[in-house]
């Protein structure tokens, strides 16, 4: 089943086309990676899908619904969550509260009277996510005081809190050590069992290991797509991006 489709999606900044005529489709429970050199338009494409930016032209469908031009709040409520390359958390709230707020977003924002502490459903779900992401023992720590690696995990935990159907992950392993990178890849694989993922990633081993399908962007345009094996052998991709590096 198709979960996301973009048709000729384009974003122009002045004369520059950051994203140009991108067509892509994503199947349910698929992990698709987007690779490409810096400035290829990967993060911009994410912002177009999650509603942070409106495309200059082109159309996007998600889960059978036409979502082009919806704002971020509306897109989020339909089930697209994003994890950010630059850690984007609530620093002076506890780790637990960071995730709890995300879980709560599916339920209510305008309830002024009931007590958060007594909502066992929301709290239980937040606790489960903290266990999945390995942050449970640090639940009372202020998020801003977590180690960098834990902040990266929290980033994912927050996104999971919104119970997404599609998760857009912008370089989840960015800045992590080789050991942490392996752990993160394992976490991505684990959470991807129940949802679809679009992954932007620079570490080729992670991309090759995790992806069902890879799309290669260059100067805003799709120059190749296929399974990891075929992308590895693609001559154009090797020239513009992999640079002859053996992967």
């Amino acid at each position: 089943m198709e979960i996301l489709r973009t048709e000729k999606v384009t974003k122009r900044f002045g004369g520059l086309s950051a994203v140009l005529d991108v067509d892509m489709t994503l199947e349910k429970n698929e992990i698709q990676s987007i690779i490409g050199p810096n400035g290829a338009g990967k993060s911009t494409l994410f912002r177009l899908i999650n509603g942070e930016m409106r495309p200059s032209s082109g159309r996007i469908w998600f889960n059978g619904e036409y979502i082009t031009g919806m704002d971020q709040t509306a897109v989020s409520l339909r089930g697209i969550a994003t994890t950010y390359q630059i850690t984007n958390i609530f620093p002076r709230l506890s780790t637990f509260e960071n995730v709890r707020l995300a879980v709560q977003s599916r339920k209510t924002a305008y309830n002024l009277w009931s007590k958060c502490g007594s909502d066992t459903k929301v709290n239980g779900k937040a606790g489960d996510i903290l266990r999945t992401t390995g942050l449970h023992r640090k639940k009372d720590v202020l998020a801003g005081n977590l180690s960098y690696g834990d902040k990266r995990r929290l980033e994912i935990a927050i996104a999971l809190g919104t119970e997404p159907i599609l998760l857009l992950m912008d370089e989840p392993t960015s800045g992590l050590s080789p050991v942490e990178t392996n752990e993160m890849a394992g976490l991505v694989r684990q959470i991807a069992r129940g949802l679809s993922v679009i992954l932007v990633e620079h570490k080729m081993k992670v991309v090759m290991d995790l992806s069902d399908k890879i799309t290669v962007l260059h100067e805003g345009q799709v120059i190749a797509r296929g399974d990891p094996g075929s992308i590895r052998e693609d001559a154009t991709v090797r020239r513009v991006y992999l640079g002859g590096v053996k992967v």
């Binding site: 989020s76 609530f90 620093p91 924002a109 007590k115």
Partner: protein
């Protein structure tokens, strides 16, 4: 843990976990230890004002430079309705709160189109607009001379009871009752799902938006709530001094509110009351010696912000928290 004997640490730890009884005791004692009762009343009213401001600044992270507007609207509305109609005391207070509510709805809606410093300056601009309007519209507001001869109706429910509440001690407790209700409401709101979203917006508005929260609408609600509490304070202030001065709408008033919050501890529950109390007490003492009391209060303020960025109450709370954690972790 040992159960007998006088354990200072344990008492402190209990107080840190349950500060409300302590606060209530302090608030009940204040009028009897303050230099005069009117000062204590003023502390509670301005504490209430700072409390309202704290919803917006301390908990939602929105810096308004124009909160005098809602204080002033509440004050004028109550004053005007008392002069012009024969309404009851509670109606007059309700009118003050209502007018502040409407003002905050409109002004908040417009100011929240912008973020950061632009937001702050818009709030200031609207407050100044109200100030000059009140200044010019003499027939309604008394202009520069202010609103005088405001009647003092008794607190009454027709056919049930009627009490005069204006004797100093009685009036203090009358005001305190409103403050306690406000504190209870606010406590509820801050612990509610809505209150938590406010803090999320303060910490990271973009992420809150990415989670699907309609941050613009939530900020607006926060603004309006803040305006309601400030309006209530303004209304009580009119009853307290029996006069509405144009200064209550002036930008200096907005500055004072901010100073009180920063002194007491922004984003802490009782910080606004502590801040208002300290500010007014210092103002009262220092102005007994010199007209230029701001020259003395200014450096105190600067030092406090430099060395106690958490404010007085924030610092006390951290200290109590530390006391509390140590015995609990050992035991």
């Amino acid at each position: 843990m040992k159960k007998n004997g006088f354990d200072f640490g344990k008492i402190m730890s209990w107080l840190a976990a349950n500060p409300i009884p302590l606060i209530v005791v302090v608030l009940v004692i204040v009028p009897f230890i303050s230099p005069y009762k009117a000062l204590a009343t003023q502390m509670v009213i301005l504490g209430l004002l700072a409390l309202g401001y704290n919803i917006l600044y301390g908990y939602t992270g929105l810096l308004s430079f124009g909160h005098a507007a809602y204080f002033g609207l509440g004050a004028y509305a109550t004053g005007i309705i008392l002069i012009r109609t024969n309404c009851s005391l509670l109606t007059a207070i309700g009118a003050g709160v209502f007018v502040a509510f409407v003002g905050a709805c409109l002004i908040g809606f417009l100011c929240l189109r912008r973020r950061g410093i632009y937001f702050a300056l818009l709030t200031l601009a609207f407050a100044q607009m109200l100030y000059f309007t009140a200044n010019m519209w003499e027939s309604l507001t008394g202009g520069e001379a202010g609103l005088r001869n405001i009647p003092h109706p008794p607190l009454a429910i027709p056919g049930l009871f009627s009490v005069d509440v204006y004797a100093p001690t009685r009036f203090y407790f009358f005001v305190l009752a409103f403050a306690v209700i406000a504190l209870i409401l606010l406590n509820r709101i801050l612990e509610s799902p809505f209150g938590r979203v406010l803090q999320g917006i303060r910490e990271n508005e973009n992420r809150a938006k990415a989670l699907g929260y309609n941050t613009n609408r939530i900020k607006w609600l926060s603004f309006v709530l803040s305006g309601i509490f400030s309006g209530l304070a303004g209304s009580l202030y009119t009853l307290h001094i029996g006069f509405v001065g144009i200064d209550e709408l002036y930008w200096e008033m907005s500055g004072k509110i901010l100073m009180m919050i920063l002194l007491g501890g922004p984003g802490t529950f009782f910080g606004p009351f502590v801040g208002a109390g300290i500010f007014l007490y210092l103002e009262d003492i220092i102005s007994g010696y010199t007209r230029y009391w701001m020259i003395v209060l200014g450096p105190i303020f600067v030092l406090s912000v430099l060395f106690f960025p958490q404010g007085v109450w924030g610092t006390v709370r951290l200290f109590l928290e530390r006391l509390r954690k140590t015995p609990l972790e050992e035991g």
